[in-house]
């Protein structure tokens, strides 16, 4: 079974600063995807970024980028030039091809301070 751990329950940062959210996972699978989802107060989970395990290059989406360390089973999210609209819960998630399940971490509540 896969497990996803987010060790930072809450974080806050000043607007325009950079923040990094941590995520580690445990799996015996070799082929999988990793995701970061954002959940604002509206509750709708929104995909932020996706990483395929077989790709060495770290994924980037505008101000969002990841640091994927496969050997260390680490998948952190960096948000650059943070904006007030980035305030939300952020969930790290693991998708295994073996069972095609999406396993979520417990989330990090991020607050951007004006």
């Amino acid at each position: 079974a896969q497990t996803v751990t987010q060790s930072q329950p809450e974080m806050s940062v000043q607007e325009a600063e950079t923040v990094t959210l941590s995520c580690t996972y445990d799996t015996s699978e070799n082929n999988y995807y990793l995701f970061w989802y954002k959940q604002p107060p509206s509750r709708q989970m929104i995909l932020v970024i996706r990483q395929e395990a077989y790709k060495q290059q770290n994924a980037t989406e505008n101000r969002f980028s990841v640091n994927f360390q496969k050997a260390a089973k680490s998948f952190s999210l960096k948000i650059s030039d943070s904006q007030l609209g980035d305030t939300a819960m952020y969930f790290c998630a693991f998708f295994a091809f073996g069972n095609e399940k999406l396993t979520f971490g417990t989330g990090t509540r991020l607050t951007i301070i004006p």
Partner: protein, 116 residues
């Protein structure tokens, strides 16, 4: 493109009552998921449908929860009778099949259930 639609947004019931949630996935998405998200936790998969067939319901408490997806489109999740510990947000998600799907799930806004 319309997103995943869920209703109602909120529901308050007393324990031992029954409740039903409705989900309309994105048009053309073959796979539909129901998740339970308890406050302070990440979503937990309850059941997964592929078209109108159940792929995985191993985490569904079948003594009180049931779900169906008629005609492979809309889905309904029912709880009967509800317990206090069922208080949570119930999220529906859908995903297309095929290489272009990239295993991305698209979520609705969820239904917040409070059991008193």
């Amino acid at each position: 493109e319309a997103g995943v639609a869920q209703s109602p947004r909120y529901k308050i019931i007393e324990k031992r009552q029954s409740v039903a949630f409705w989900c309309n996935p994105i048009s053309g998405h073959a796979t539909l998921y129901w998740y339970q998200q308890i406050l302070g936790q990440g979503p937990k998969l309850l059941i997964q449908f592929q078209n109108n067939g159940v792929v995985d319901d191993s985490q569904l408490p079948k003594d009180r929860f049931s779900a169906e997806r008629l005609k492979g489109v809309d889905s309904t999740l029912k709880i009967q009778p509800a317990k206090l510990e069922d208080s949570a947000v119930y999220l529906c998600a859908s995903s297309p099949r095929g290489k272009l799907a990239k295993n991305i799930q698209y979520f609705g806004a969820g239904t917040r259930l409070s059991v008193l």
